[in-house]
Symmetry: C2
Subunit: 164 residues, 2 copies
């Protein structure tokens, strides 16, 4: 016999719709959300509480306009290390992330580079300064190709939940 759902249950379609709506605009009121998914505001509230407590929603954040804030130059760095991703290099990289706030994102990856770093700076002077601080703090960099972003065709990265 099928008892009630486990605490950390699978998400149903209403949950996924709610998450999609909140990815688009997290300031939507419960009443609005309720109308769209065909539930009461309280029903929405309980589901959101579950989604937050279950860690599905990690946080709610304000997305700012980089240009308006003077950070016009976006770059993607492809970095390779001497000795690849050996523990020392990784530890140093993590220290860099803490020390250099211009680093927006940082991933270690397979392929021709060891790490990929996204950086936002004011202009090419700030970029030069950043690269100098990076190479000072990360001793084991063998090569760092700086790719300047020409166009942001899509960003923000809302997850596709239609088939999740």
């Amino acid at each position: 016999m099928m008892l009630s759902r486990p605490v950390s249950s699978q998400l149903d379609e209403i949950d996924r719709t709610l998450l999609t709506l909140l990815q688009d605009d997290a300031s939507t009121s419960h009443a609005d959300l309720a109308q769209r998914v065909g539930l009461s505001a309280t029903g929405v509230h309980k589901r959101l509480k579950h989604l937050r407590q279950g860690g599905y929603i990690k946080k709610v954040t304000a997305v700012l306009d980089r240009s308006k804030l003077g950070l016009d130059l976006l770059c993607i760095l492809k970095v390779t290390f001497r000795g690849n991703l050996q523990p020392d290099n990784l530890a140093e990289l993590q220290r860099c992330i803490q020390a250099l706030p211009e680093i927006l994102e940082c991933y270690t990856v397979t392929g021709s580079s060891d790490a990929i770093i996204k950086v936002a700076v004011r202009d090419h002077v700030a970029l030069r300064d950043f690269l100098h601080r990076l190479s000072t703090q990360q001793q084991a960099i063998e090569r760092a190709e700086t790719c300047i972003v020409l166009q942001e065709l899509k960003e923000g990265g809302e997850l596709p939940l239609g088939n999740a």
Copy 2:
């Protein structure tokens, strides 16, 4: 003689602090924010209104947990086109972004690749399927190096406003 500031004025330190706090948690109440910046809730409200209307805050979004939603495989694609970034290729790329929701971010860049694409999929089967649809829809791809993300050392990309 120096007259009053234009409507779309520069941001002061309180504005920047508010933006930083909202990047960290956009669900913070006006009362809480007020306490932190030494203002009344009304003062905060007026500043936030200005920041929203001025376009400094583009939107408020819920950040979801990829793993919990079954999108465990994050990849970064370095793509080069036959004929580089010629208009036809760009148009086709924009169509791809619309058609392939797995694409979280897409940038055209300088350097050894023409575009860099961030993709989230469920597993390697979904990745294979995605790559197939990509190459079908984007005819002019000369080469696409798929870098699988091993670790997300930093993501989300909150902007550093200390020196803005």
